[in-house]
């Protein structure tokens, strides 16, 4: 994979790395919960939420992984830059370094959500 050299491209990747995982998780959380609540209430709509939840999990997990890869790419590309150096490179490096922790956290969350939601019958009371 070619590492982009231009700062604007690196910065775009860095923001993707920072925002993609959390946003993918948030959307999965809201839609997954919404599907269950819709199914398990009088309105019902006759939908089976499990396929949607698995699909949402897969898409969200892919986005989280892509975000992690982007953060890693920026982090490596800016290896010579220190985290307190002048902006923009210093700031991009700082935020990319921070984004590295997002992958494991949000991948776990997304998978827990998805597999947890389909583990049990859709509307069995806890």
């Amino acid at each position: 994979m070619r590492i982009p050299r231009s700062l604007p491209a690196l910065e775009a990747l860095q923001w993707f790395g920072l925002l993609a995982g959390p946003l993918a998780y948030a959307v999965e959380h809201v839609l997954g919960l919404g599907a269950t609540l819709a199914r398990c209430n009088p309105a019902g709509f006759g939908l089976d939420p499990h396929p949607y939840q698995l699909a949402a999990m897969t898409v969200a997990a892919a986005i989280v992984v892509a975000g992690e890869a982007a953060a890693l790419l920026v982090f490596v590309a800016l290896r010579p830059v220190g985290q307190e150096d002048n902006p923009p490179p210093g700031r991009i490096r700082f935020l990319a370094a921070a984004s590295l922790v997002l992958g494991p956290i949000f991948l776990t969350l997304v998978l827990l959500n998805g597999f947890g939601a389909v583990y049990d019958g859709p509307c069995r009371q806890a």
């Binding site: 819709a38 209430n41 009088p42 309105a43």
Partner: protein, 193 residues
């Protein structure tokens, strides 16, 4: 590093950011209203409940389109204020204000009739619908006052930094309110769509 050697760029003023954050918290408020609407809708088998007619579609959609169109003069007014043209900004604000006031007057009339016909005390459906629509109209009303205030401020034909930020912030406010209005109307009409 000589930080003062950086060429001056005109980024958004703090007043614009203040309005952006205020708009974000207002949008969240509407988000929770929408969530409440959907939550109550899930709880119901018949929505609207028996005995309440589904809302009519055409007039609300046309009115919303008209309101949405006022985003254009607001944005142009913001650009005019940015380049220091007070009279142009004033004329555009006035144009937007006239259309918005007309929209508000018609909607208020319709809202009053609707509350008469379907009082919020009837059921959860009427409660949440009237609350949602009323909250939206209230935000339009506040926007009208904002535009009036700015028109008065620009009377002497000068654009100061304070007024420029004011017009930019008002334009942002209207964009957000208009976008929220679209969601409000779509939810309000959802039983008929």
């Amino acid at each position: 590093m000589n930080v003062f050697a950086v060429p001056a760029r005109r980024s958004r003023a703090r007043g614009w950011w203040g309005m952006a954050l205020f708009a974000a918290t207002e949008a969240t408020l509407f988000g929770t209203i929408f969530g409440t609407y959907v939550y109550l809708r899930f709880k119901a088998v018949h929505w609207p409940p028996d005995g309440i007619a589904s809302p009519s579609i055409t007039i609300p959609l046309v009115l919303t389109g008209v309101l949405l169109a006022t985003s254009a003069p607001m944005q142009l007014a913001s650009a005019a204020a940015r380049s220091g043209r007070a009279r142009r900004a004033q004329a555009l604000l006035l144009l937007a204000l006239v259309v918005q006031a007309g929209y508000f007057a018609m909607q208020l009339q319709r809202y009053a009739d609707d509350v008469q016909a379907h009082p919020p005390q009837l059921s959860a459906y009427t409660s949440i619908t009237q609350l949602m629509v009323g909250a939206d109209h209230f935000h339009v009303f506040v926007g009208l006052l904002l535009n009036l205030f700015l028109l008065a401020k620009l009377m002497d034909g000068r654009v100061t930094a304070y007024r420029r930020t004011g017009v930019q912030a008002a334009a942002l406010y209207w964009h957000v309110v208009n976008a929220l209005t679209v969601v409000v109307v779509l939810l309000q009409l959802s039983p008929s769509l």
